[in-house]
Amino acid sequence: MEVDVRVNIKDAQKENTKIIEVEGILDSDTMPKADKTISDFIEKVDKKGLCLILDLNKLKYINSSAVIKLMGYFITMRNAKGSFKLVIPQGMVYDILDILGAKKVLEIYSTLEEALKDT
């Protein structure tokens, strides 16, 4: 059976850097489940100086309500003096973020390696 959404929190093997990988679909139905894991992590972690990378390489679909949540993670990290980066390859998910003007606000990279290099 296809996975609706799966969230994996990974150690980046780099100081002050964490990776959250999201796989599957982020929409009004699945976002609450993903958000619980991500928000719980962000709430508990020491955000100051932390670089949080959200890796959406394996994400197949995103809708506008899920994009709002991503913006919320960005604001939380920025206000706590941390940073927030998104990894999204060119394609359909990237285009939705482009339409919504997210490129003007968020740091977006096409590969995880590029995002890690810039931490």
Partner: protein, 162 residues
């Protein structure tokens, strides 16, 4: 499917968990009339955003007991969707479009970043035609048309419609 127009009407409860199955179903039908996988994704996004809006704003009781109707008209290389709800909220669509354009062109404030209501921006960008009618006490009816375009004819960057 041939050149003749095929019509499908579906009434669904105001429950977002039903939308993902519905959007996949409609995208699959669209692929059968000539849309490619990328356009199928765009059609999924149109169905998703319009149904989610109708469920959120267009069901009077707001507790998931209302219903919305999705009508889908398919012909070769074209899909027309009409999403109808029975909401009693009236809104000025011109103001919504102007606000969306300003947000996209000038950027988002922190407050706006967390605001809902961006679904229509996606719909405006992806649909070839968009028409919205709100009738007092009778609900809102949104019609969108999407036509197949070969990949080489598509714009690389999305331009926000004027």
């Amino acid at each position: 499917m041939g050149a003749r127009r095929k019509t499908i009407r579906i009434e669904i409860p105001a429950d977002t968990s039903i939308v993902s199955g519905l959007r996949s179903f409609i995208a699959r039908l669209a692929r059968r009339v000539g849309f490619d996988d990328y356009e199928g994704f765009q059609i999924e996004a149109l169905v998703d955003e319009l149904c989610s809006n109708a469920i959120e704003h267009g069901t009077r009781d707001g507790n998931g007991m209302g219903k919305i109707e999705v009508a889908c008209f398919l012909r070769k290389g074209q899909i027309e969707l009409i999403i109808s709800d029975k909401g009693d909220k009236e809104f000025n669509i011109g103001k919504v479009f102007a606000r969306n354009r300003r947000r996209i062109e000038k950027g988002w404030s922190d407050e706006e970043l967390m605001c809902r209501g961006r679904g229509l921006i996606i719909v405006q960008a992806l649909a070839d035609e968009l028409k919205i009618e709100t009738l007092p006490k009778k609900g809102t009816r949104v019609k969108v048309v999407k036509r197949h375009k070969p990949a080489k004819e598509r714009k690389k960057a999305f331009a926000f419609p004027k």
